[in-house]
Amino acid sequence: MYAVGYFFEILREIPGFFLRRRSGLRVLTMQMLFTGFEALPVIAVIALGLGGIIVIQGLSLLPQFGQGQLIYTILVIVITRELGPILAAFIVFARSGTAITTEIGNMVINREIEAFIATGINPISYLVVPRFLGVTLSMMLLNVYFNVFGLLGSFFIAQLFQPLPFSQYAAGLFEAISGADVASTMLKSMIFGALIATVSTFYGFRVERASTEIPQNTIRSIGVGFTLLIVANGVLTLVYYL
C-alpha cells in the first residue's frame, strides 16, 4: 500500500514539474541520455538479431507449407507486440533501474535527501519526477527503435541469406501490422517505464543508514521489478486479446 501511495505521490507531483521545469530539466535530460541514448546500441543489436533470426527461419520454413506470408504476422507478434517492449524493459531495468536505486540510496546515506527537505525542496518533485518521466519517455522511444531495428533492420540481415525485394517486404509488413499493435506496444512500454522508475526510486529511498543496504535494496528492486514487468506484460497481453 505504501508503494501504491508513493506511486500516486509521483503522479501528483508530475504537473508541478512542467510548471517548474527549469529546476528538473537538467536531471530529465541526463536521465534520458543515460537511460535512452546509451542503451540504444544494446537495443539495436538485440533487435537486429531477433528480427534476423525470425526472418531467416521463417523464410526457410513457412514457404514449405505455403504460408510464406505469415512471416510478417509472426514478426509483428513477436517483435512489436510481445518481445519488443519486455526485452527493452529488461535492458532498461538492468542498466538504469539499478543505477537509480544505487544513486538515490547513496544520497540517502550521505543525508542529501535530508538537506533537500531542510531547504524546502520536495525530493520526489526534484529527484523522482524527472527520473520517472525520463525513464518512461526513454522506454517508449527505445521501444520504437527496437521495432525499427527489429522489423526493418532484419530485412537487411535477411538479404544476406535470402534476397527479397524491399517493396514486397514493406508492403507485407505494413499489411500485417495494425494500429492496435502500435497502440499496444506503446502502452506497454509506457507502463513498463513507469514501473521501472517507480520500483527503482522506491527501493532507493528504502535505504536507511548503512551503505551495505544499497546492494541489498538494489537486488530487491531487480527481483520485484522483473516480477512486476512480467505480470504487467501478461495482463496487458490479456487485455489486448479481450
Partner: protein
C-alpha cells in the same frame, strides 16, 4: 567535460525527435497502407440469405477491389442487410441502376461480392443509398430492362480450360526442367560440366584407364606364360633338361644312394644330439630337489633379514638414526644431455 555530457541536450534532442519521427512515419505508413486517411462511402444492399457473406469480404468491380463489407444484419422483415464501403477512388463506378451480386466459384475456388454498374453514366449514388442485389425483384427488373452492364457470362468449359492453363504451364515448366536436366547429364557424361556427378564420371574414367593398363599387364603376363609353355613343349628346353633321363632330377634320384647315405648320417648326428639332451635333462631332474631346498633356505633367510630390519627400525634407541640418503645429481653431463 565529456562530449556526451557537454552536448547532452543536443544528443537527447536528436534521440527524441528521431524516435518520434520514426513512430510518426510508421503510423503514416500503416495508415496509408490500410486506408486510414482515405474517405469511404457507405452503401447498403439486401439479400435473402447471409450464407456466403462475411464481414470484411471484398467488393470487386471488373476484378478490382473497390470496397469491403462492413456489417451484416437481419432486419425485422427477415431480409439480410449488408452494409459495405466503397473506396473514394472508385466512387464514380457506383452509378444509378447498379446492382450487387454474390458470386461463388462453381469449383469452390472462393467468391466475393461483385458490383455491376448501371448502363447510364450518372453521378455517383448518394451515400447510404440502397443498391439492390441482382436476385431481388428490383435487381431482376433492372436486368430485364437491360439497364445493368453485365459482363458476358463466361463459358464453364472455357473457365475450366482457363484453370487447366496454369496446370499445363506447370507441366511445360517441368518438361523444360527435365530437358535441362538431361542436357546437364549429357554434358556430365561428355565431360564438359562440373559438379559432383561430373567428378564421379571423371573418377570412373580414371579407373577405366587404370583397368586398361592392368589388362595390358595381364596380356604381357599371359604372353610370358605362353612363352614358358612353348619352352616346355620345346624338346631342347628347360623342362626336358630337368626331367629328362640325363636331367638334374633324374640324377638326384639315381645317384647310387649317395643322397640316402648323407641323410642317414644327418639322422645319426641328430640322434646323438638328442641323447645328449636327454642326459642333461635327467641330470636337471635329479638336482631339482637340491635347487628347491636352496631356494627355500634363501626365502627363509630373506624373511629373517626382514624381521631383523623391522626390529632395528622399531628400536627406540637407533630409530631415525640412519640418515636418509640424498641423491647427489652428477655434475657430469654428456654433450647429448645439453639443451640447445
Amino acid at each position: 567535460m565529456k562530449f556526451k555530457i557537454r552536448f547532452a541536450r543536443q544528443i537527447v534532442g536528436v534521440f527524441v525527435i528521431l524516435g518520434f519521427g520514426l513512430l510518426l512515419m510508421i503510423i503514416v505508413m500503416i495508415g496509408s497502407n490500410q486506408r486510414w486517411f482515405a474517405r469511404n462511402y457507405e452503401y447498403v444492399s439486401e439479400f435473402q440469405s447471409a450464407s456466403g457473406i462475411s464481414q470484411g469480404m471484398s467488393i470487386t468491380f471488373r476484378g478490382f477491389q473497390i470496397g469491403t463489407v462492413t456489417s451484416i444484419e437481419l432486419t425485422e422483415h427477415n431480409v439480410v442487410a449488408v452494409r459495405f464501403n466503397i473506396f473514394d477512388t472508385y466512387i464514380d463506378k457506383v452509378t444509378e441502376n447498379s446492382v450487387m451480386q454474390l458470386v461463388s466459384h462453381p469449383l469452390g475456388f472462393g467468391g466475393g461480392m461483385v458490383l455491376h454498374q448501371g448502363r447510364r453514366r450518372t453521378d455517383p449514388l448518394p451515400e447510404g443509398s440502397l443498391i439492390p442485389s441482382i436476385n431481388s425483384g428490383l435487381g431482376r427488373s433492372l436486368v430485364a430492362q437491360d439497364l445493368v452492364a453485365l459482363p458476358e457470362e463466361p463459358d464453364q468449359i472455357e473457365e475450366l480450360l482457363s484453370l487447366l492453363d496454369p496446370i499445363l504451364r506447370n507441366i511445360d515448366a517441368v518438361t523444360q526442367e527435365a530437358e535441362q536436366l538431361l542436357a546437364e547429364v549429357n554434358a556430365v557424361l561428355a565431360g564438359s560440366s562440373q559438379g559432383p556427378l561430373a567428378e564421379t564420371v571423371a573418377a570412373v574414367n580414371a579407373v577405366l584407364l587404370e583397368l586398361e593398363v592392368a589388362v595390358a599387364d595381364i596380356g604381357k603376363i599371359a604372353g610370358n606364360i605362353e612363352a614358358t609353355t612353348a619352352e616346355m613343349r620345346d624338346p631342347t628346353g628347360l623342362v626336358p633338361r630337368l626331367l629328362g633321363a640325363e636331367g638334374s632330377i633324374a640324377r638326384i634320384l639315381d645317384d647310387d644312394e649317395e643322397l640316402y647315405r648323407e641323410i642317414e648320417k644327418i639322422l645319426a648326428s641328430v640322434q646323438a644330439a638328442l641323447e645328449d639332451v636327454q642326459q642333461m635333462t635327467e641330470y636337471l631332474v635329479s638336482t631339482t630337489p637340491q635347487i628347491s631346498g636352496i631356494l627355500e633356505e634363501s626365502r627363509q633367510a630373506i624373511d629373517t633379514g626382514q624381521e631383523v630390519l623391522m626390529g632395528v627400525r622399531n628400536n627406540p634407541l637407533i630409530r631415525g638414526g640412519v640418515p636418509e640418503r640424498l641423491e647427489q645429481p652428477t655434475t657430469f653431463q654428456g654433450f647429448r644431455d645439453e639443451e640447445f
